[in-house]
Symmetry: C2
């Protein structure tokens, strides 16, 4: 495997001042693989399954390299904004095809760095999802529906979303080496499909996988004739340089998926320059089990909860971290099932060495605050980053004394059950929920919970981006009607989604109005007859695939 | 007039701790007119035409009053989010009708506080525009198209924009006592139509007009049965309290129109809490006159420029503050016309005492930087806030030595002409433009400028929200296809517009997905058959007014 890694970079360039060491992995800057200077800092990823450091050394880029990335991307940004949608789509499709060809290799690399199963997770699920996103984005480039043209023939005004004509910085999280990767995930696909250069930051938990993806992306970009700085990659930088990058006025926008602490710092840096920045930072995803549902199907709901909570070692931003119910019929059977599942669950490893420790700390923090253990998974018997899954319980009175303390996200296979005395107290708990990506409500099939449902949903809905019925939150469908976001700090801006096209593409658009612009100068998508047969336009209040009516011209 | 002012407040309440003094004008808090406490600070507006202070004293609210506004609005926010669109529309229409009934009175009040002509400006232009905005917003509430529902029947996901369920703070500018007023303008109308409580801040330049509007709004809200804190008003507060208000987590969003300095401070406060905030802060609105157009119709363009520059005493955010051209045929005739118009132009007064002084300082600053005077209006012969209109000129080489210095907005009837040696140098000037709301290009009718146009527009378009051909920027049509905004700091977020419905309404929406939510629990706009016959929905990729097709249900 390490031989493969060393062999991979197709064009190592020893630029002036840069030196390629044995384990010194190069960055992708302006179409060339360039090694960091020898005096750079380096880091190694780890193999979660064993806890061992992986041999490849990845550079912590100094500002000079970040500046180089920015300069190159800014230079190509205007050309990319004018690049034909067909060419952008061809790139995305060629890249997807390359990922198909290298699926097994990529899955093996990602499994090595993440500890997640190569086949069950990557080959079967995450890589297909990533391919769908890249191809959906290509389709969106081809149909151009992300622009939402609005035409007023009376006032002679034509408006649509257009590229920012500046590069986009995409920073992916630790938990999706493909589907949210800075150089392969949804933000990347959305940025490219709308005609932007991407500066991708690898997550340091899977730099090798990201490097391999960058190679495939770069080859596809070269083959399809895109400018040399269309896709660029770095792995790491100091916090100070990262914030400097986020606030650089040469940047057009930022897409960030990850933890709240880093996200808040980056948001502050971007806000200072007025750079649009989109964040997906999670939350506890409250799941309410109403009394009728608890009585009706406690075991079924417990089974769904356990599956959702333990899926992917609990490392999802939509993990059900908070379950809310009442002390009523069915609770014992619910707990029994949860206890049995968690007690016997042998967990896979987490993504980094810090995560099991942080999970232990979070569990201890809840115990200190007055929660009790419902179930805890067995202690790990192997080396590696193995967590002990946990379900805790707290009564609503204790919870309500300090709701913020009990809503801190526990990243991993752990969840807190809040038990209210009755429906009244449950209502009060719903008054004290922080923002989350999702909120689920399980209610009785016979309608017995409907009155309470209405009261709870009025409190829950404004706090979440996605509202679910009788369903755990972990599945995030790639659909035009998905909303993966939420009020701050679950998301960055409540009006935008990170998943679901073309909506996610619109984050990277600037609204531009053409006021009495001569017809031959209008962009193709705004001309009387657009050359895009599947482009919906709102012409004088009517959405249509057709041209501007002749009598209006 | 002052008797009228004192007689106006319909219900003066002397709340505990509050005292109504003779000239002490009350705030509208939670449905009651409440006077500030006697120890509050007060301010007076001025009559620009004479420079005299007006007699009414308006309070500078302490934090306790702002907190009272917030508490009341937050309490009513959930109810407003559930209020029927018909009721919201009825309020907006009743309010518009009341403004119609009181047009003359309102125009007189506004003229007294602004120095702008009651009939020509307010009765003829700005009040009709305001009425159109209120009624358009009512129509948007009735048709619900701001929600943009997206339905995926296969994945059983239904998504739309929904109210934030928190109040919106609207801060209007000095230059539009009606059309952008915090309690009557576009942001106000958009916030109400989407089901939000509005906390309006009067601009201290026209508190009396704003108070009268608030009375009419409050009466209409009461008549139509809206919650008591639907419309609230304060006049002024300390900078510290204003920033505290902007960063209060009880607030759902902010709409701000005004100067860049205040806007940046408010944006930083809102950003810290993650509150969506929308800004319209102007810029210099570059107008390019290409060599062919200058040769072809110098006098016609000069006439258009003078009219646009002097309109409303130049106090528009779309004022043409920067004109860019080449030293070529037609320039002399252009200058001759501009010089003649400005030299003989007797200006009306500006909105506040500070503005003519600031304009003088700005003119002097350009002179110090190397610009020269083309024309200056006559010195004012009366007391009052009269400016001396000015056109300055600088060669492009001097401009390019410090482009930021020459792009500082001069609020008022003043503009800088940058003369490039040739087309090459003009291109370079366009490389150094800051963000603006608009960018205009005049080019030859015979096509001689087309090659240069293409080069300039590639540089100009990414820097502006609205691109105009052969047209000055001051007209901002109220149209669904308008974009009144731009890259920061001209606007707040490049994807949003402050004018043009329903787009401006979407700023106040939170995207929410219904994932497997039981059909009877879906909001009406997302049900298989929506009760809104004019609501366009994107169902499985097709925009339609119809129901979800039966075979998909």
């Amino acid at each position: 495997m390490s031989a493969l890694l060393f062999a991979r970079p197709p064009r190592i360039v020893v630029a002036s001042g840069y030196l390629v060491g044995m384990g010194n992995q190069p960055l992708l800057i302006d179409g060339e693989w360039i090694a960091a200077s020898a005096d750079a800092d380096f880091f190694n990823a780890s193999a979660p399954a064993t806890g061992e450091s992986l041999p490849e050394q990845f550079p912590v880029s100094p500002w000079s390299q970040l500046d180089h990335l920015l300069t190159s991307a800014a230079r190509d940004a205007r050309e990319l904004a004018q690049t034909s949608p067909v060419q952008l789509a061809s790139f995305l499709e060629a890249y997807a095809d390359a990922i198909v060809t290298h699926t097994d290799e990529l899955a093996t690399l990602a499994s090595r760095e993440s500890g997640l199963p190569a086949d069950a997770r990557f080959v079967q699920v995450e890589i297909p999802r990533t391919l769908k996103q890249l191809r959906d984005a290509a389709a969106c480039a081809r149909d151009q529906n992300w622009r939402q043209p609005v035409i007023d023939t009376t006032a002679n005004l034509r408006t649509q979303l257009e590229p920012l004509a500046k590069p986009i910085l995409v920073m992916g999280p630790n938990n999706f080496p493909f589907a949210y990767n800075g150089i392969a995930g949804g933000d990347f696909a959305a940025a490219i499909a709308t005609g932007h250069a991407v500066i991708a930051k690898a997550h340091p938990a899977h730099p090798g996988t990201t490097q391999r993806l960058a190679e495939l992306a770069h080859e596809a970009a070269t083959t399809t004739g895109l400018p040399s700085a269309t896709v660029q990659l770095f792995y790491h930088c100091s916090n100070e340089d990262g914030l400097r990058l986020a606030s650089d006025p040469r940047l057009g926008a930022i897409g960030f998926t990850g933890g709240e602490k880093a996200g808040r710092a980056i948001k502050a840096a971007a806000d200072a320059t007025g750079t649009p920045a989109y964040f997906e930072m999670s939350g506890v995803n409250p799941v309410g089990i109403l009394p009728g549902a608890l009585r009706e199907r406690p075991t079924e709901i417990a089974r769904a909860f356990c599956e959702s909570s333990l899926l992917g070692v609990g490392q999802f931003c939509t993990n059900p971290g908070l379950v809310l119910t009442t002390d009523s019929a069915g609770l014992d059977r619910y707990l029994e099932r949860v206890r049995a599942t968690f007690a016997e669950h042998t967990s896979g490893p987490m993504l980094t060495a810090a995560l099991p420790r942080e999970l232990d700390d979070a569990v201890q923090g809840l115990l200190d605050a007055g929660a009790t253990l419902v179930a805890r998974g067995p202690a790990p018997s192997a080396d590696g980053f193995y967590p002990r899954p946990a379900v805790l319980r707290v009564d609503a009175r204790t919870y309500l004394a300090d709701p913020a303390r009990f809503q801190r996200e526990m990243f991993g296979p752990a969840s807190l059950l809040v038990v209210a005395r009755d429906a009244d107290e449950l209502r009060t708990v719903y008054e004290h929920l922080d923002a989350s990506l999702t909120g689920s409500l399980y209610s009785a099939a016979d309608g017995n919970d409907d009155a309470l449902y209405d009261e709870l949903v009025a409190r829950l809905a404004p706090r979440v981006g996605r509202l679910l019925n009788d369903k755990m939150p972990t599945g995030v469908a790639v659909s035009p009607a998905m909303m993966h976001g939420g009020p701050f700090p679950a998301g960055g801006h409540p009006g935008f989604t990170a998943v679901g096209m073309p909506a996610s593409l619109r984050r990277f658009g600037a609204l531009r109005c053409y006021d009495h612009v001569r017809p031959h100068r209008l962009p193709p998508t705004l001309q009387d007859r657009s050359p895009f047969p599947a482009l919906w336009r709102c012409i004088d209040g009517t959405w249509t695939l057709g041209p501007v009516p002749a009598n209006d011209r």
